[in-house]
Amino acid sequence: MTQIDPAETFRLEAQDVLEQLEQTLLDLGDDLDDMALVDGAFRALHTIKGSGAMFGFTEVADFVHEFETAFDRLRKGDAAPSGELVRVALGAKDHIARLIAEPNAHARAGVPILDRLRAIVGTGIQAEAPPRPVDAATPGNGPAAGDASHGWRIRFRLPEDALSLGASPALLLDELRELGDCTVLASAEDLPSLEKLDPEICHLSWDVTLLSDCSRDAVEDVFLFVEDGMQLDIAPLPAAGPRSDAAAPAGPSDPAAPPAGKTDRAGAPPRENSSLRVAAERLDELLDRVGELVIAQARLSQIAAESSNPSLMTVTEEIERLSAGLRDTTMGIRMVPIGTLFGRFRRLVHDLSAELGKDVDFVTSGEQTELDKTVIESLADPLVHVIRNAIDHGLESPEARAKAGKPRQGSVRLSAAHEGAEVAITVSDDGAGLDTDRIRRKAEASGLIASDATLSDSELHRLIFHPGFSTAQEVSAISGRGVGMDVVSRTMDALRGRIDVDSQRGRGATVTLRLPLTLAIIDGMMVRVGRNRYSIPLSAVEECVELPPDIAEGSRGRNFLRIRDKLVPFLRLRELFGTQEPEDLHQKVVIVSTGEQRVGLVVDQILGNTQTVIKSLSRLHADVETFAGATIMGDGTVALILDVANLVRSGQRFETRLRDEQTKGQAA
């Protein structure tokens, strides 16, 4: 069995529960009368407290205790939910997350939160001591032990229903024998006649003489689970006086404790269904194995094709089919609905709208859209920035909106949808839209573009994602301005995705992030440059054309191809890569694109399409920007995967420079 750390499981679980708690609290904030939500919040707190204490997170248990009690009071109608309470509870949720992430560092920070809680919910909450671990098997409430005894005489009879409830006299006797030498006498004097005998009722009683210096507590513990309703006499040896008070009630009594109320709650969100949680690393490991299998299979296919052995070919085809199926299944396992991510932004919007004094209607859709888990994780940051930007800078103040004839409440929509082999995630607002004039001025001032550069609106829009770009007229503490938006473009590059911006002045802006469905295995087009082979992600390939001889021969400065009346810049990969070998006679151009931007890549030969398992490059090659990773081919050698986004950017820079030169040339 592999080593599992339950504390780690608790951490993961707590993340889920806290996320769910946050959603529940936000829902509760929208509808303070929904008792099912109060129940849900209570249960989440209850789980965190219980499990937290179990796995050593005592700070968490201590802190959560009062919140649990508060929500228990709400449940019972002793107090009423309020917006203020929801806010405090959201703060508490954040605090709990910190306590779990970094134990022994933040306990003090909980004090003001609890103070606020008490101020809201009132005096009903005593700062009760949180539960401490007690030994379940030996509750300390038995009568004082008579330690000096040489042994005990124990007479007992089980309650009638004990057998059907699962009690076993044999086990009890065994347990007594563990304490010391026992002489056991069973009495059948109450045994009814055979026709009246109910086999499920225990009619025997026992008389046990136990020679042991154990305490009375130890003897009583043996009967811990059956003592209710049983007859039990325990007397020290040799005296044999009967005792009637031996069966003490188990468990400490606490009259101040609140009654439990009903424990079944309808309308609570279903949690686990029949799903299974697996550590992400294991999925990564599985995918690695599948990747290796795909590679080995490609190799086998190659060998089989060369051998022309029909039975080998048959098996190979079978294996090809199986490994393709396994690959698809594995990829499927890694797919997670994006709703898990969307949920987090409700909180962001809630906080932002409060801080900025903007009333925001935040609507999400397409939560069921599935994406590779890794991709979803890396989308969190970029989306925070895009949504922040939409609220902070897109949406106008309620007054300005009213003046412009818009509803005072602004709208931000977050949606996800599949578009072919891509997922499109869209953030749109009905705010003021992007100010292209200001973007241009700013870009010129910061030297991003030449003052006379001709840029389309969409090119200008995309500049907001440029590192360091900012159009802030006043710096707001919340968005941090230009800082951050470049995170979006960097992340999208890393994910092989792209950004589209659409904006209409006065009507709002839409930012669309387009991503490939998965990151791990892609279809690639193999090309050759000199004697090296490279893979180009097929999703980026638009078409392949022959490099016209006049251009191939022509001057190095005019690196443009005319493709259907559009000029497309091209890069000679052999120049870029410093290839020494002589070039092939008929050079090919692979036209690749990201969004609207296209660039041609000149190669020696197009070898065909293959499945490509992406392996990342080590840090030693982190500076080599033209490659997105490497893959292992059928023959076992390594091929590099071209970073299309990066190449397109180089192409664009080249194009811009050239166009500027042309413009200047014309002006002169």
């Binding site: 090296n532 490059l617 080590s618 030693l620 490659f627 390594v638």
Partner: protein
């Protein structure tokens, strides 16, 4: 893994280091045996255009893409085509706090032996062809001098950089 822990791993009380010895450019180098994953015969190498000369290639090690380093570049030795004795030593280093598996070319691999640390002397500050920070010490074994390189520093991305810095290395 800390140095201390490794020494304890290797032999009694940190007095010796269990090491794999190998030839590169006519010198004998020692790599701590505990970090070595495997030793391979020469395999096809994929060049990485525009990569630092020190790690100009990639190889496939059991389905894993591993950078292939050539110590000769860092130690200013002349390039030499592989022959029948050439081996690739695959071992683990720590790069920016991440364990990283790398391959390294060796002209010939000798043996695993225990190098007495008492015979190891710090690299001389002057009169050495190599950057002193790349050398942990010079040890003596069977009458031969053995260079114990500071692998984490040799591979550190800082200054792994461009051909220029490599030239500097040669000059210094």
């Amino acid at each position: 893994m800390t140095q201390h822990a490794r020494d304890i791993d290797a032999v009694p009380a940190g007095e010796a280091m269990r090491a794999l010895t190998l030839d590169v450019g006519g010198e004998v180098f020692a790599i701590e045996a505990t970090s070595v994953r495997e030793i391979l015969d020469m395999v096809p190498v994929t060049e990485v255009p525009n990569a630092p000369a020190f790690v100009a290639g990639l190889i496939n090690v059991r389905g894993r893409v591993v950078p292939l380093a050539d110590l000769r570049v860092k130690f200013g030795m002349e390039h030499r085509p592989p022959d029948d004795d050439t081996r690739i030593v695959v071992f683990e280093i720590t790069l920016e706090e991440e364990p990283t598996v790398v391959g390294m070319l060796a002209d010939r691999v000798h043996t695993v032996c225990d190098i007495a640390l008492s015979t190891m002397e710090p690299a001389p500050k002057v009169g050495m062809r190599w950057r002193p920070e790349f050398v942990r010490g010079i040890a003596k074994h069977d009458g031969n001098f053995i260079i114990v390189p500071e692998m984490n520093r040799v591979f550190s991305t800082e200054g792994a950089g461009t051909a220029n810095s490599e030239n500097e290395t040669r000059a210094g």
